[in-house]
Structures are given as C-alpha cells and as structure tokens.
C-alpha cells in the first residue's frame, strides 16, 4: 500500500492549476436557507459580470432542475455553462462531506466551456449550519434575507459566522416585515468580526453591486497569487 508522506497531503485532486499550468477559475460557493435569494443573486451576478468575465454555474437543486431552469429561462448564461448536480436529499452533503459530484461538475465545465474566470456553485436551500468544503470552493457567500427574521445574524451558525461574505438580501422588505437592519448589522458584526457583510435589494437597479464588487476583489486576489 502506498500512502502520502505523513505531513503532506498533495492537493493534486482539487488542483489550483490547469493541466497547462495556468491558474484555474475561481470557485465561489453560495449557500443559505431556502428562499433567501441565492438563485436570484447568481442570476444578477452573471448578468452583471458576464461581459467582462467568462462564467459558469453549478446548481445543487434539492429535487428538481428548478434553479438551473430559472437561470436558463432568464438567459443569464448559455445552457452549456449551467450544470445541475443532484444531491440525494442532502444538499449539505454534496457541498461539504462528499463533494465528488460537484467537483466533477466544475471540472467538466472548465473542460467543455473553459478557460473560465469564475465558477459559481449554488447550494440547494439548506439550514444555518450548511457550509462549503474548502476542497470544492475557494470562497463562500452565505445569503440570508430580512423577511426570514432579523434575529438570524444573532443566532449565528457556521454559515453566518464563517462565510467569506454574508449577504443580507431583500432589504426593500425590511419596513414591511418589521426587520431592524441596524440590529442585523450589529449582530452580524458581533458574530463575524471583520468579515464583510453586504446588504442587498436585488429589485433595485444594480442591486447586486456590493456582491459583484466583492467577487471582483476575490478574483483579483486569486489571480495575484503566483
């Protein structure tokens, strides 16, 4: 039996480089509860960034191809750039514990439509504990919304506390559902320290801008590393 040297686990199976030695696409995961606006955020990001970046999307629908079809219907990307992965009733398993199908999907997208700059991996709607494996994505966004309750940032959980970007979506609904945005910002700060939080309303013109800017920064940092 051959085993790797005790101290080293060569990352050859989730490599950061393409076969030709260039840096592969940045992989960004989007997770969060059902209905918080993950798919809408992905669609808006694609529409905003697709003119200057080569993008593909992997969706992890829970039991249909609804999310993939939403993206297709809204024509944010050509069909060959959108892949739906099936998750066997466990969306968090497919992005965290056993990332096989998602890894294969992102690599297949790179192979068939690449070279790509950015691959967005959208999780199926899940709970506050669902986070992405670092073997699958390079950075992750957790999307919640004001209408699900302004106490969610206070409740915390791995998605809220550890995501590289927390998006609080549907701010336009705050006055109608009695959500206190300042309290949400304060609680998020307490949970996350210096990690960024973006408040968005995708109904507003260019409402996804804070998220798109953050993705742009991540991409610049990704490319800057030799």
């Amino acid at each position: 039996m051959h085993l790797d040297h005790r101290e080293t686990y060569p990352p050859r199976h989730t490599s950061r480089l393409r076969d030709d030695g260039t840096r592969r696409a940045l992989r960004v995961g989007l997770g969060g509860p059902v209905g918080s606006g993950k798919t809408a955020t992905v669609a808006a990001l694609c529409a905003t960034l697709r003119d200057r970046l080569s993008i593909a999307v992997v969706t992890n629908d829970i039991y249909t191809r609804e999310d993939a079809e939403f993206l297709l219907r809204n024509a944010v990307l050509p069909a060959e750039r959108i892949t739906a992965v099936e998750t066997g009733a466990c969306p968090h398993t497919a992005i965290r514990d056993d990332i096989s199908a998602n890894l294969e999907a992102v690599e297949e997208l790179e192979r068939t439509t690449g070279p790509l700059d950015l691959i967005l991996v959208e999780s199926g709607g899940d709970n506050l504990t669902a986070t992405f494996s670092s073997g699958l994505v390079d950075a992750q966004i957790f999307v919640i919304d004001v209408a699900a309750g302004d106490d969610i940032p206070r409740k915390g959980g791995p998605g809220i506390t550890a995501a590289d970007l927390l998006v609080v979506n549907k701010t336009d609904l705050a006055p109608h559902v009695g959500s206190d945005l300042e309290a949400m910002a304060r609680d998020a700060k307490a949970q996350r320290g210096d990690l960024p939080v973006a408040f968005t309303s995708l109904r507003a013109p260019d409402g996804v801008r804070p998220v798109a800017d953050w993705v742009g920064e991540r991409l610049a940092a990704w490319r800057a590393v030799a």
Binding site: M1, H2, L3, D4, Y9, R12, H13, I62, Y63, T64, R65, V85, E86, T87, G88, A89, C90, T93, A94, D97, D98, I99, S100, A101, L103, E104
Partner: protein, 225 residues
C-alpha cells in the same frame, strides 16, 4: 491493517458520490414496490443476488489483477443493458477513482485515470481501489455486495421516513447472503483469471434496468439514480 481499510472503503461516508444515488430504490418507492421493511428486504435481496453478484465478481476480478481493467469494463458494459445505468456506473467510477487516488495513492490508479478519462464502471474501480488499499479480492467482492444493499437502504430511510432501526436490521439480516455472494463472486473471479471475462456472472434484474430508464427520464427526483 487490511480489515480497517475494508471498513473505510465500505463506509457510506467514504466520499465517492454514492450518497446521491438510491440504487433503484427511488423508482421502486414511487411504483409502490418498496413500502416498508419487508418490501425493502425483498428489494435488497433481489438486487444483491443479481446486480450485486455481478458487481461483486467484477470488483473481485479487478482486485485480483489478472484481467486488464479495460476488459472488465467491457464485460460490465455487456452486463448492463440500461444506458442510464451504464452512464451512472461510469460517473460513480470516476468519482470513486478520485477518492481512491487521494486516499491510497498508487501508480496503477493514476494509469487508469490517464488511460480511461471517461471512467470505468464503478465495481471495476472499487476492485482497483481495494487492491491499492492492500485488500484481497474477496474483500472487494464483499464491499461491492454490501454497497448493492446499503445504498437502497439509506435512500429508503430518506424517501419513506422509514424507521432507521428497521432499515439497519434489514441489512443485518442479509449478512449471510452477503457472505455467500462474496464467495460466489470470488470464485468466479478466480475462473475469469483462467478463462477470461465470460466466466464472470451475468445475473441481471430486468425490472431494475427498466425502472432505471424510467427514473432517468423523470424531471422531478431526489436521487440521481
């Protein structure tokens, strides 16, 4: 050491993509053929002695190493009439190969990845992974046999809300069958070393094949197969 490697390889938590597949259970549940522990047991027994035996023999032969992986893959193709199941088997084979290469690095596994970019049938890769882990052909057969009933059982717990204790008892009561299938499969793999892949069992369950095609065409489903 080898006993522990077998536990690892057969563990449902081994990250090789199997969790998204029901082994035909989702379609059987939808058709009303699996409704509780008794019907789950019947389904599993049927799958074990047909598709399970065939998979176990392929895994044992791959682990033994006397027949080249490509020839075993062709034999698996010939024993899998459903195009949907052939695609699923290769997909799971690719995913298992990735996990196996990371877990038990071996030049032989690297060569398979290089020579078969489209993937090999999962039981063939399972046998090669077992070999890289230092396991014997019967271990590989047992892992394949166990997987042929473990997948549908876990899926049924999720699909029907079946009592997990009942579901686990179903698997436990199949233990004797699992051992017998592993013995048969290992003997067949021995034969195949001398007589070629025609010596491998070709037990199949037509309803599993038909149901797999129906399942693959459904727009709404929880499991990939």
């Amino acid at each position: 050491m080898t006993a522990a490697a077998l536990l690892l390889l057969a563990d449902g938590r081994f990250p090789a993509g199997a969790h998204a597949h029901s082994g035909g259970a989702e379609e059987a549940v939808r058709a009303g053929r699996i409704t509780g522990p008794e019907t789950l047991a019947a389904f599993c027994r049927g799958r074990l002695h047909t598709a399970g035996l065939t998979a176990a023999a392929l895994a044992a032969a791959a682990c033994a190493g006397a027949v080249p992986p490509g020839a075993l893959d062709a034999a698996a193709d010939a024993r899998t009439p459903s195009p949907a199941l052939r695609a699923t088997a290769r997909r799971l084979g690719r995913q298992l190969l990735r996990a196996a290469r990371a877990t038990w690095p071996a030049p032989e596994l690297d060569a398979v990845a290089r020579d078969h970019p489209g993937g090999l049938h999962q039981p063939v890769v399972l046998g090669l992974a077992a070999r890289a882990a230092g396991l014997a052909p019967r271990d590989a057969a047992l892992a394949a046999a166990y997987e042929s009933v473990g997948g549908p059982t876990t899926a049924t717990v999720r699909l029907l809300g079946l009592d997990p204790f009942d579901a686990t008892a179903v698997t436990a009561r199949l233990a004797g069958d699992l051992d017998r299938v592993a013995d048969l499969a290992t003997a067949a793999a021995d034969d195949a070393a001398a007589r070629g892949t025609d010596a491998l069992p070709a037990a199949s369950a037509p309803l599993l094949d038909i149901a797999a095609e129906a399942h693959a065409a459904r727009p709404v489903r929880l499991f990939a197969s």
